[in-house]
């Protein structure tokens, strides 16, 4: 079985840009989400105001109100401006983690994808902390005592690492266990239906829990810096 931290190289563009299977799969997922979002948004364009939602409108509303509920309960009513970021993160991570169900390698089992998302969150956390003024920001590292400065700095830098490694490790280990399992099942084809419960745990349960944990930790970290 091939396990790679950065995916297999599919082709190289102009002899400089290396395109791995992670990039290809991420573009497929981005296309999927874009099409869904386009049609989901078009539903609400010419919608009569005083009518109950029908059909696909219910799904779009449910996704939005789920995000809104999470943000409001974790960060409070005054932080509704974070709904777009948290919602984007949630939809992308949910679709990406569940993409193992259709047989492609989940892009989140690549350290580069999770690292990029963790860096985005890190920038948002530090930006929120900087809003309180540069002096307060720098003073925050020397709390509660100044000898703790190096430990505070390490703790600050460890945040994106732990976010990235948690998602990456969980998804990659699930993918590897499924790979080993399928490798074993090729020999005994009539036991193939045994794979379904494992998919249910490693893809459905683990993937959605990791999505929830990533966005929850993002919200908690941002909240703790305000």
């Amino acid at each position: 079985m091939d396990v790679n931290i950065s995916g297999k190289v599919v082709f190289t563009l102009f002899n400089t840009i290396v395109v791995t299977d992670t990039v290809v799969n991420t573009w497929w997922i981005m296309g999927f989400i874009t099409v869904l979002a386009y049609f989901g948004g078009r539903l609400f364009k010419n919608r009569p105001v005083n009518q109950p939602p029908a059909g696909a409108e219910n799904v779009a509303e449910a996704i939005y109100s789920l995000t809104e509920g999470l943000v409001v309960s974790n960060m409070g009513e005054e932080n509704k401006k974070y709904i777009p970021y948290i919602g984007t993160l949630m939809i992308f991570l949910a679709v990406t983690n569940l993409s193992g169900l259709v047989g492609i390698k989940p892009p989140t089992s690549d350290l580069h994808t999770t690292g990029a998302l963790a860096i985005l969150t890190f920038i948002l956390i530090q930006g929120t902390a900087l809003k309180g003024g540069l002096w307060n920001y720098l003073k925050g590292f020397a709390q509660p005592l100044w000898p703790l400065l190096p430990i505070n700095l390490i703790g600050e830098v460890a945040t994106p690492f732990s976010l990235a490694f948690r998602l990456f490790g969980n998804i990659l280990s699930g993918y590897m266990i499924m790979g080993i399992f399928y490798g074993a099942l090729v020999k005994i084809w009539y036991l193939f239906f045994i794979a379904q419960p494992f998919h249910m745990y490693f893809d459905l349960f683990s993937g959605l829990i990791q999505t929830f944990i990533f966005i929850s930790l993002t919200m908690v970290y941002i909240r703790s810096k305000q």
Partner: protein
């Protein structure tokens, strides 16, 4: 002293990496105990206050995710030792 050939040296490094990968998964014990304890406390809390189940489950999952970090670090070390073989490079082979 007897000479060690490059093939034997490589085999030795790979053996050590495999043993190290097995040992690197030992950190899985701690998060296992911790997550189980958190889940037990969560069940207790739900039994005491069934009406606040949502908040309890959310807090429990968040704590478990943070507790899991050390185990994931161990897993990453094991993966690195098994599949990326960083120690082979030191041999200059």
């Amino acid at each position: 002293m007897f000479e060690i050939g490059p093939l034997f040296a490589k085999a030795l490094v790979l053996t050590g990496s495999a043993i190290g990968a097995g040992l690197a998964l030992f950190p899985g014990v701690g998060p296992g105990i911790g997550q189980g304890y958190a889940a037990g406390k969560g069940a207790e809390a739900v039994a005491r206050q069934p009406e606040s189940q949502d908040v309890i489950v959310r807090t429990m999952l968040l704590g478990q995710a943070v507790a899991e970090t050390t185990g994931i670090y161990g897993l990453f070390i094991a993966l690195a030792l098994l599949f990326f073989n960083p120690l082979i490079g030191y041999l200059g082979l």
